[in-house]
């Protein structure tokens, strides 16, 4: 039972930030595309801005791994 709960916790740890990241990127993406249409020189800034929310899912992944390690694998 405890292992199942830990598995669920790991799944939530990765899935909730993944949804949050997707939501943030869905907002940033169109805005970045619109900016690029007017100022193509902003491409680096646009890529960075799109990559910033990925921190959430990356840290979620790290937390999920830590939880799974507690279950012994």
């Amino acid at each position: 039972m405890e292992i199942a709960l830990l598995g669920l916790a790991a799944a939530l740890a990765i899935s909730i930030p993944a949804i949050a990241t997707a939501w943030a990127q869905s907002r940033i993406g169109p805005a970045a595309a619109a900016s690029l249409a007017e100022k193509p020189e902003l491409s680096t800034t646009a890529i960075i801005l799109i990559a910033i929310p990925e921190t959430m899912v990356i840290l979620g992944f790290v937390v999920a791994v830590l939880i799974l390690l507690r279950t012994g694998g």
């Binding site: 491409s43 680096t44 890529i47 960075i48 990559a51 910033i52 990925e54 921190t55 990356i58 840290l59 992944f61 790290v62 791994v65 830590l66 390690l69």
Partner: protein, 620 residues
């Protein structure tokens, strides 16, 4: 690194101004900056007039060059013509000729395209040419019905015959596209009725070709065919004329354009020169190491009449000093990455050498696979072979090769060849990141701590060097708190003796008010964000592990598909996908770690680019 600049002042008698500016342009060294003088020179109306003439002439020349076909690149360029009435007239004449020929060619092309639209129509009804027409004064309507509308033909015929009491002939042919070409011949008397009926039933007429009007297509058809046959000859003749004009005038046009572009640059430069009735003063920035070259060149050409002097000792402080980067050849390709951001301010730090060291390292840590590294090396090698020396693509290929080498090196360290295949083939990992997840996470965060510490050290040194002692000390205290916190954590985790925890914690608490006193309450937020930045390096472990896991899944497909061949094909496909992700993701995240986390501590964007007055060169 940012090249050390010097400000040079050149003064001389007014009549020599044009020649001195030309000499400065020949040297290509001086970034002009208007002298700071307590008086303004009187406006020179002649300059604006000359500027207008040059621009008008350039428009004629460049339009003519644009209109004429490209000539033989190996031809010897003509002598520079200079700006005279003759030059202006010749440029205008060539432009008119080129315009006339280009317009004539465009009209012929348009006509040909239009006639080609009718070609199928012509061909469909070609057999009717020469037949006796039912109504000698008949008018024609041309209709194309869409594919599959053949059944509507009978209805169309019935409606038309009923409307005009049989004074209509409807001919139809199926086109190769499946559409139906319909030719409606109708007596002159009944034509308006048929036109109205077609419009009311929304049957779209094919517009009649120019010159045919509402006359009968079958009568005009031979003439149109003859016209279509003659157009290619006319086009060829026009092309011949254009080629002759290009051969005769292009060398002169190219020489005149170069001369006038250079002149325009000098005229623009005059706005940044102080020219009085008897004297002129030119000031500008150039690399300190090249000052002697320019001084010698001016002295050799003008003797003692033109004097030069280095102005002030404003190094590391003048905000308007232009910036140019110069790095050793091994680091230079990485300027592509730093130049995607605005240039650093003069007197601050060029991050290129640090990017050159850390970017491939982070990339390699994340990808960390011999197989993928070799694939990337092959790609980068191919790009290198196809790119021109000193081009941006060449720089990208060099960065690719550096990243590939790093990925292979870390692949050897991790014992990974297309994921777990390396272990199966007997590669012994020095550090097995598949199993040592926690140590890998710790290593990623430790790398982050080192990188951020380096950023803070650079910031403190730079601020101290520029005289901002208080801010420099603030960065120093932040740095100390960072290190003390790290040491306290190590003591808490018993990596260091646990009795050291209390002294480290007390030292952090003591440093805290000092930091607030030096940099204000904002420093607290910055300190917290610095800890966040360090944790952000966990992405190195996360992306590395994810890449490894995808490769492991790909390898397991071989045994999971029932057939080894199908499994191997799927595995290959999955490895290709993983390779593509493995190129994109580590690049983006390694860049982000630099631009956001590392640069944020010391990088000061906003430097003006060093643009010396030089000769004009056409953009490739």
């Amino acid at each position: 690194m940012i090249v050390r600049m010097a400000r040079l002042r050149i003064a001389g008698p007014r009549p020599l101004l044009e020649d001195v500016l030309a000499a400065v342009q020949d040297s290509g060294l001086l970034h002009l900056d208007r002298p700071r003088a307590p008086y303004a020179a009187p406006p020179d109306g002649g300059l604006a007039r000359e500027h207008r003439h040059v621009q008008r002439c350039l428009i004629d020349i460049e339009t003519a060059l644009d209109r004429l076909p490209a000539g033989d690149a190996g031809r010897k360029p003509a002598d520079a013509p200079g700006l005279s009435r003759g030059t202006l007239r010749r440029a205008r004449r060539i432009r008119r000729d080129a315009d006339r020929l280009a317009h004539a060619r465009a009209s012929l092309e348009d006509e040909r395209v239009l006639l080609l639209r009718y070609r199928e129509f012509f061909q469909a009804f070609e057999s009717l040419v020469g037949h006796e027409l039912t109504w000698p004064d008949s008018q024609a309507f041309y209709v194309v019905l869409r594919a599959g509308a053949g059944s509507a033909l009978a209805e169309l015929r019935r409606s038309l015959e009923a409307a005009v009491s049989g004074e209509v002939e409807v001919l139809h042919r199926e086109l190769s596209s499946g559409e139906w070409a319909v030719l409606i011949l109708v007596s002159e008397r009944a034509a308006p009725k048929v036109g109205a009926l077609l419009a009311a039933s929304r049957v779209e007429e094919l517009p009649a070709p120019a010159g045919v009007g509402h006359t009968n297509l079958l009568r005009a058809l031979p003439a149109l065919k003859a016209r279509l046959a003659v157009i290619p000859e006319e086009l060829q003749a026009l092309d011949e004329d254009r080629r002759h004009l290009s051969d005769a005038e292009r060398p002169w046009l190219v020489a005149a354009r170069t001369e006038l572009r250079d002149r325009l640059l000098r005229l623009d430069a005059r706005h940044r020169v102080l020219a009085a009735e008897h004297l002129f003063i030119i000031e500008g920035w150039l690399p300190e190491a090249r000052v002697a070259d320019l001084e010698r060149s001016l002295h050799d050409r003008f003797g003692p009449e033109v004097v030069t002097a280095t102005v002030g000792g404003e190094d590391w402080s003048a905000p308007d000093t232009p910036v140019t980067l110069h790095n050793p050849p091994i680091f230079r390709p990485f300027e592509v990455l730093t130049r995607t951001l605005p240039l650093p301010k003069y007197g601050t730090i060029d991050p290129t050498p640090f990017v050159a060291v850390f970017f491939p390292a982070f990339f390699g840590l994340m990808l960390g696979d011999i197989g993928y590294g070799l694939m990337l090396a092959a790609l980068a090698g191919a790009l290198r072979m196809k790119s021109a020396p000193d081009s941006q693509l060449r720089s990208v290929s060099t960065i690719g090769l550096a990243c590939a080498s790093s990925a292979v090196a870390f692949g050897l360290l991790f014992g990974e060849l297309f994921g777990s295949l390396g272990h199966a083939m007997g590669l012994h990992p020095v550090f097995n990141r598949e199993e040592a997840t926690m140590p890998f996470l710790g290593m990623a965060i430790a790398i982050g701590a080192v990188h951020i510490t380096l950023g803070l050290v650079l910031a403190a040194l730079n601020l101290w060097h520029r005289g901002h002692r208080r801010e420099a000390m603030g960065r120093g205290v932040t740095l100390s708190m960072l290190l003390l916190t790290g040491l306290a954590l190590l003591a808490a985790l018993e990596v260091l003796p646990s009795r050291l925890f209390t002294p480290f914690a007390i030292a952090v608490l003591v440093a805290f008010p000092v930091l607030v006193a030096l940099e204000g309450i904002v420093a607290v937020i910055e300190l917290l964000s610095t800890f966040g930045h360090i944790l952000s390096y966990a992405r190195i472990m996360a992306l590395g592990t994810a890449s490894l896991m995808l490769a492991v899944v790909a390898n397991e497909m071989v045994g999971a598909m029932g057939s080894v061949v199908v499994g191997a094909l799927f595995a290959l496909l999955f490895h290709l996908v993983n390779f593509a992700i493995g190129l994109f993701s580590p690049t983006i995240h390694a860049l982000r770690l630099h631009y956001v986390e590392f640069f944020g501590h010391f990088f000061s964007p906003g430097g003006a680019e060093y643009r010396p007055l030089g000769h004009w060169h056409p953009t490739p």
